[in-house]
């Protein structure tokens, strides 16, 4: 793809996972998460197996364990939430180390932690092996409403332009002796934000003109057709398929 758009999660490289078409990977991650979420929380061992599956994928993608674990920190807010559950959820109490915890809450916390971690890990692997641009093409291919894909593409394209505009405004403010300090500067900052909004809006209008001038009529033309062979699909789907087998066992055993 070589789109030059690397994001912070992306890890450049070549591996069987990197080379899969983006829409296959997206579909696989989505299905995997669905399977994980529908696993009964009382069955503990399936979650361990899921983790093993993901570790296998990460290995195939040549993502070092440390790298993956560091990216998992995204879910810390959920962990905090999960840790609260045993204390606040009503229900039968169990005593652990002198603390009175709700049994329901403990299961709830386990549920959030296990499923959340697996979901985040799968997404991190996806993001580490797929460029942003490719992700968008994949979403487009999966028939996500075109308008959403367009908005996301514009965010990539104009994110830098707008940050730059923000930086220029901040330089202009500071050149005239303004330092953002405390509540009293909020008024100025709010006005700057307003000006930034207007500028971005006007740019939007001009960009729209330019698009219309080149034949835009509401739908983005297909420029890069992403296609997948049957073999690629099979490889991508093997992850959720294996997970599904584990899940079915989890329900029946």
């Amino acid at each position: 793809m070589g789109a030059g758009h690397s994001h912070r999660l992306y890890r450049h490289g070549h591996s069987p996972v990197h080379d899969l078409p983006p829409h296959c990977k997206l579909a696989a991650v989505f299905l995997f998460v669905v399977v994980v979420v529908s696993t009964p929380r009382e069955a503990m061992w399936p979650f361990a197996l899921y983790a093993v599956l993901l570790a296998g994928v990460a290995g195939a993608a040549r993502i070092p364990a440390g790298y993956l674990l560091k990216r998992l920190l995204i879910e810390i807010p959920f962990v905090a939430f999960a840790l609260l559950m045993p204390f606040v959820v009503p229900g039968e109490q169990v005593h652990v180390l002198g603390l009175s915890l709700s049994e329901n809450g403990l299961w709830g916390a386990w549920n959030v932690l296990a499923k959340g971690t697996l979901g985040v890990a799968a997404s991190v692997i996806l993001a580490s092996t797929t460029e942003l641009r490719a992700l968008l093409l994949g979403l487009q291919r999966l028939r996500l409403p075109s308008i959403l894909v367009q908005i996301a593409s514009f965010m990539i394209r104009y994110g830098d332009v707008i940050t730059d505009e923000m930086r220029r405004m901040s330089i202009a403010r500071r050149s005239r002796g303004f330092e953002a300090r405390g509540v009293r500067s909020w008024g100025v900052l709010a006005k700057s934000a307003g000006a930034l909004f207007i500028r971005s809006y006007e740019r939007g209008e001009r960009v729209h003109l330019a698009m219309v001038s080149r034949g835009y009529a509401g739908a983005m033309p297909v420029i890069d057709e992403v296609t997948a062979t049957r073999a690629q699909w099979t490889r991508a789907v093997s992850l959720p398929a294996a997970a599904l087998a584990v899940c079915v066992l989890g329900w029946t055993l």
Binding site: L136, S153, R206, L209, A210, R214, G215, P221
Partner: protein, 258 residues
């Protein structure tokens, strides 16, 4: 060039007649503009700020319409039912390349126009590479536009329009914000192209360098139309329309004509 001139007698690339237009807020910007540009000709559109140049440009591909008069591109009237074809024939390069380049990569941006008109696959790829090669930007195909310098972005903006093989190339202030080297490189590119060019500019030496003919638009009407050197040498005319030559520049000197 001679062939193009012979051709031009039959069908001008651009024919504007009696064009008048008022913005929705009531401000009238054009008061009956008549202008014909022959195929292969390069014409400079000069005029002070607020003269209506951009307004005229936006009429050429039907972005603005609804006033009096008519616009024809290679014989085809600019009207609702022809808009798709008109937008393929008229390539407009806007002043700010950041407005023009809206796709994540240069390649996709150049591909946008042809793809919108239904070109796909190998032919699309070929067109994109050819257009980028014409402006000397082929090796930047996979870069995101915002990582390019201003001059490079302006060149890519020209390529986005060339990829549609337009009948007429319309440039709104192409030399603005370019350093002298980029400005000259763009001139070389434009001179090397075999298309009709209408160039809006405040850069009078640039007009003299590139365009044999100049048109002055002032207060919504065409105030002068003639060979660029003559128009620029007419001091009274220039003063009447707030046009000023840069200090020390003499349009009648052969040096200026290169």
């Amino acid at each position: 060039m001679t062939e193009a001139t012979v051709n031009a007698v039959n069908v001008p690339s651009l024919e504007v007649s009696g064009l008048a237009f008022a913005y929705p807020d009531g401000h009238q910007a054009l008061f009956g503009v008549d202008l014909a540009v022959a195929r292969g000709e390069r014409v400079a559109l000069l005029g002070p700020n607020g003269a209506g140049k951009t307004t005229l440009v936006l009429h050429l591909n039907g972005i603005l319409e609804g006033g009096a008069g008519s616009v024809r591109v290679a014989g085809l009237p600019v009207a609702k039912e022809n808009l798709a074809e008109i937008r393929r024939r008229v390539g407009i390069v806007f002043q700010d390349p950041d407005d023009q380049l809206f796709m994540p990569t240069v390649r996709e941006d150049v591909a946008f126009g042809p793809a919108a008109s239904g070109v796909r696959g190998a032919e699309l790829e070929e067109r994109v590479l050819a257009a980028l090669a014409q402006v000397g930007m082929a090796e930047y195909a996979d870069r995101p536009p915002h990582h390019l310098s201003f001059g490079q972005r302006r060149r890519v903006a020209v390529a986005t329009v060339l990829a549609m093989s337009p009948e007429i190339l319309v440039l709104d202030e192409p030399s603005s914000n370019l350093d002298p080297a980029s400005r000259r490189e763009l001139a070389d590119i434009l001179r090397g192209l075999d298309v009709t060019v209408l160039m809006v500019t405040h850069d009078l030496p640039y007009a003299l360098e590139l365009c044999g003919r100049s048109v002055i638009l002032s207060e919504g009407v065409i105030a002068a139309d003639g060979p660029t050197a003559e128009v620029l040498s007419d001091a009274a005319l220039m003063r009447a329309h707030r046009l000023e030559l840069p200090f020390g520049f003499d349009p009648s000197s052969p040096v200026a004509l290169r």
